[in-house]
């Protein structure tokens, strides 16, 4: 019953993917955890450095009083809220006895801090992540030393449960691998596939929860510590909000309108973005509020990575299960494998350059993404709501739809040209080539040529109109004519390409149908109406769909000739998306616009397919 049909490399694909996935997941969790600890340590070190710059006296050269610096650091370490390791150096000399047996920072770290690096991350053998920040003078100009903080976040709970789960996943994978070498029943194979996947999902969820817990804790600890530092800094004298801001450079410190007696961290959403804040009262009863983007929002990449590793395992196990099932249909299996081998280059290209950006745009549209800052908080549907409530976006959609009406016009003209040129002869071939020229030329070059043609004073169009006594307008600068001018260029560019496609379609219609129609009594128009048009339908659909897509995606000609003007008359959707992203640095909103445009385009194309997509098989 358990005779071994022989090992093959594909049997190992599933377990191998599983092992890589478990390793990857474990690594991603560890990296996420370390990143959070580094962030908290940096925040604490910046807070300490800011406190010293406010409270330690300095001499006329700006150098701190070493004794006062040492005593302040010692006081800070003994403060109940601090709860972290601390080292401070004046110049290059550490002042505090090193309680964590750490070595002084390497000279290159100190050098980088002096060179302007805002922080440096290191590892202490006994205390994990450690952060170095420069200690600047009071004016925050020159670097006078450095501050090191470690252990700024309590150690997370022992990952024992996760380790047990990981071992279970590996054991289950071993069982799956063994089963693929035997003639297991379908039921056994299914169980062997489901168990590691379930365990891996459990491991993924547990890892994600653990990271989420650490992130929440990191946010709380950082905010609480920043508040206490602000309170400590303002004990001896009144400090302005700007001065206090140096205690938490990566947070927002502001005066509050009223005293908030709540001492715990509050979590809210501001304009769709998550925010964590804490209220404090300075000496003299001044209320302040310190807020930040929760660390959880920085874990988006980590969540994606965790999901990716889990998916790798699922894919691997699915492949393995399928391969084990297909082993009895060896020829088919090999054929499928070979087919995928041939498909792989194209599929990879499609995945990386089409599917990947698509997913990224979707992700982008659900987050806030600006040029400044590394945080990209989840904002849900806020970008979409903002776009849908923006009259400018609706206007650009209307302009785009109006612009796209050139497509049927171009189709009719190119069909006419194709019908006229559907014959032999050298003159016809030359004419076809001439008509095709605009679509093989660079759009930018074509646009520049038309810019000259449309020029109000030196353009050939107005010169020709002047001959018949018409004073032509400034075609591209007049809101009444700018869009029509662009549509005319589009027709001129596309007509040759569409004509060639339609010509190929016309010539693929067997002559016998026309012969039959002639004998049946159909005249020229009737043959066109009842034979040519229906049989040309798939080609017309192709031309219509590709034309519509090109029309909705118009950008270059607008960018070169009108930049969306005049008075937004040519502000088409893609150009608006471009401006939203690259000029206004609102990539999240630009992403939402892109998705909405794609949906609209998808709807239009679906309607076109619905309308004329009935397949015609030539018999």
């Amino acid at each position: 019953m358990t005779s071994r049909p022989g090992m093959a490399w594909w049997r190992l694909v599933g377990p191998l993917c599983g092992v890589i996935a478990v390793g990857g997941l474990w690594h991603a969790t560890a990296v996420g955890d370390r990143t959070l600890r580094a962030d908290v340590a940096v925040a604490a070190a910046q807070g300490a450095a800011g406190l010293f710059s406010l409270t330690v006296p300095a001499d006329r050269t700006g150098a701190y009083d070493g004794g006062r610096l040492l005593s302040n650091a010692a006081l800070l370490m003994s403060a109940g809220f601090w709860q972290a390791g601390l080292q401070v150096a004046s110049g290059a000399t550490p002042l505090l006895p090193d309680t964590a047996n750490g070595a002084p920072p390497a000279p290159d770290v100190v050098e980088r801090l002096r060179g302007g690096s805002p922080w440096e991350i290191g590892l202490r053998p006994d205390a994990g992540v450690t952060a170095f920040v420069p200690l600047r003078d009071r004016a925050l100009q020159s670097v006078r030393g450095w501050v090191e903080v470690w252990g700024a976040l309590p150690p997370s709970r022992a990952p024992l449960f996760r380790m047990v789960l990981a071992v279970c996943v590996l054991l289950a994978l071993g069982r799956t691998a063994w089963l693929t070498t035997t003639r297991a029943t379908t039921w056994e194979r299914r169980v062997a596939a489901v168990i590691p996947v379930a365990l891996m999902l459990a491991l993924g969820v547990t890892s994600a929860r653990s990271l989420g817990h650490t992130a929440a804790q990191a946010t709380d600890v950082s905010l609480m510590r920043a508040r206490r530092l602000a309170e400590v800094a303002s004990v001896s004298r009144r400090r302005s909000v700007e001065e206090l801001a140096r205690l938490a450079p990566r947070m927002r410190v502001e005066s509050a309108d009223s005293i908030d007696l709540g001492r715990s961290v509050r979590r809210d959403r501001v304009e769709g973005a998550p925010e964590a804040s804490v209220a404090g009262v300075l000496s003299g009863g001044r209320p302040i509020r310190i807020s930040m983007v929760p660390y959880r929002a920085r874990l988006d990449g980590v969540w994606a990575e965790l999901a990716g590793w889990a998916l790798l395992l699922v894919a691997g196990v699915a492949f393995s299960a399928w391969a084990a099932g297909a082993v009895s249909k060896r020829a088919r299996f090999r054929g499928t494998l070979t087919a995928w081998g041939f498909l792989a280059p194209a599929a990879t290209h499609l995945l990386v350059f089409s599917f990947g950006p698509l997913v990224f745009i979707l992700w982008l549209s659900l987050h806030r993404w600006g040029v400044v800052g590394t945080a990209h908080p989840w904002v849900g549907a806020a970008n979409y709501l903002s776009v849908l409530g923006d009259p400018g976006f609706w206007h650009s959609l209307g302009v785009t739809a109006l612009y796209a009406t050139y497509v049927p016009v171009a189709l009719v003209l190119s069909l006419g040209a194709a019908l006229l040129l559907d014959r032999s002869g050298w003159s016809v071939r030359v004419l076809r080539g001439v008509l095709l020229l605009p679509c093989i030329a660079s759009v930018v070059a074509v646009s520049l040529v038309w810019q000259w043609i449309y020029h109000p004073e030196f353009g050939v169009l107005n010169a020709l109109l002047a001959v018949v006594g018409i004073h032509g307008p400034d075609w591209l600068a007049d809101p009444r004519t700018a869009l029509a001018a662009l549509m005319f260029i589009a027709i001129w560019v596309h007509i040759g390409f569409q004509m060639i496609i339609l010509l190929a379609g016309l010539q693929s219609i067997p002559r016998v149908y026309h012969d039959a129609a002639r004998v049946d009594g159909a005249g020229v128009w009737q043959r066109f109406r009842h034979v040519t048009l229906p049989l040309l339908q798939p080609t017309i659909l192709f031309v219509l769909v590709t034309g519509t897509i090109a029309a909705f995606q118009v950008f270059t000609v607008v960018s070169v000739l009108t930049q969306g003007g005049p008075l937004h008359a040519t502000d088409v959707a893609v150009y608006r998306i471009y401006r939203e992203g690259w000029e206004l640095a609102r990539f999240g909103t630009a992403g939402a616009m892109s998705v909405l445009l794609a949906l609209l385009l998808g709807g239009v194309v679906w309607l076109e397919f619905k309308w004329m997509g009935r397949r015609v098989a030539l018999v």
């Binding site: 149908y513 012969d515 039959a516 129609a517 002639r518 004998v519 159909a522 015609v616 018999v619």
Partner: protein, 337 residues
């Protein structure tokens, strides 16, 4: 129904070569004439000229008493069935049948009546709402035939209508066509390269070669008294045996240089007892008959048709006998004497 007259018709695509070369033909009303010839002999071109799909280089085409050379196909009152059916793929069977009537603006009620009548005659009733792509080859051919029948034209033109079908279906449809033609009494021109179709369907045969008419006659005439060597060799499966030597032949008419005899008119007799001796080179047993290929002692080859499964083997020595009545004589140019 109407008569069809062709007078000295010439069609040339690349002069001086002629696809149809000086063809004259009279088809009586209700007559079925089969045009037979090898591929490329100009038979389809002749048909297309009659249909109006090609413009003749010279000559006249008359349907009834009217010269139709200058009329478009729609006004010639002919219907044509094409080799590849030419059913409009985007229309249902019903719409295909209706198409010629719609083009001629026949009233809807009359159209419906005609379609029902043709569908009943050709057993297309269950297929009316199907698309051509959903039909078998035989069904498509019946629809193509129906589309020709539905408007009751003066002349039917059929261009190798059965050549795309398998052998069994071809035999069945051949019989159907024969019955249909007999029932309708239509004037029909039937182009084919298949002799069986031509011999069974045609009241008269026109044998074409190189664009020229080689012989016109009833199937019996063409088969029994071929007008020239080409017809003798082309008509009949296998064709007529031709002898210049190898057999002891009686004296032929004046000018005759070779004799022909059909394979079924040759007999295999014991060696030295017939008009000549020969050696069997191949035996084809076809079930009801056997074709025996022989090489004659004095040179030349022949095929002998014997009934049943003859007991002959390759290498056997045999004698050849015949009745001189069945001999046909040809002169040096190949014409029958």
């Amino acid at each position: 129904m109407a008569t069809l007259t062709i007078r000295r018709l010439v069609k040339s695509y690349h002069p001086p070569a002629r696809a149809v070369d000086d063809v004259s033909l009279d088809v009586a009303s209700g007559e079925c004439v089969a045009i037979l010839g090898p591929s490329g002999c100009g038979k389809s071109t002749l048909l297309r000229c009659i249909a109006g799909l090609e413009e003749p280089t010279a000559g006249d085409i008359l349907i009834g008493d009217a010269r139709v050379n200058d009329l478009p196909p729609a006004e010639r009152d002919v219907a044509m069935v094409f080799q590849h059916y030419a059913l409009y793929p985007h229309l249902t069977v019903r719409d295909n049948l209706e198409f010629p009537l719609r083009m001629r603006r026949v009233r809807p009620a009359a159209r419906s009546e005609r379609i029902t009548s043709v569908a009943r005659r050709l057993e297309l009733g269950d297929l009316l709402d199907r698309m051509p792509g959903q039909l078998s080859g035989g069904q498509r051919q019946r629809v193509a035939l129906g589309r020709a029948l539905v408007r009751d034209p003066a002349v039917f033109l059929l261009d190798e209508p059965l050549s795309n079908l398998d052998a069994t279906l071809r035999v069945q449809l051949r019989a159907d066509l024969l019955a249909l033609q007999a029932a309708l009494g239509t004037t029909m021109l039937y182009v084919t390269h298949d002799q069986a179709e031509a011999l069974t369907l045609g009241h008269r045969l026109v044998v074409l070669d190189g664009g020229r008419v080689q012989q016109v006659g009833t199937p019996r005439e063409v088969y029994a008294t071929p007008a020239n060597v080409f017809v003798a060799r082309f008509v009949g499966t296998p064709g007529m045996n031709l002898f210049r030597q190898g057999l002891r032949l009686p004296d032929g008419p004046e000018g005759a240089v070779q004799a022909g005899i059909r394979p079924e008119h040759l007999a295999l007799v014991p060696p030295d007892s017939g008009a000549g001796n020969a050696e069997v080179t191949a035996v084809e047993r076809l079930g009801s008959e056997t074709l025996v290929h022989v090489r004659m002692a004095e040179g030349g080859e022949a095929i002998v048709r014997v009934p049943g499964l003859g007991e002959f083997a390759r290498g056997d020595r045999v004698g050849l006998g015949f009745d001189p009545v069945n001999l046909r004589w040809f002169d040096a140019t190949g014409r029958a004497v």
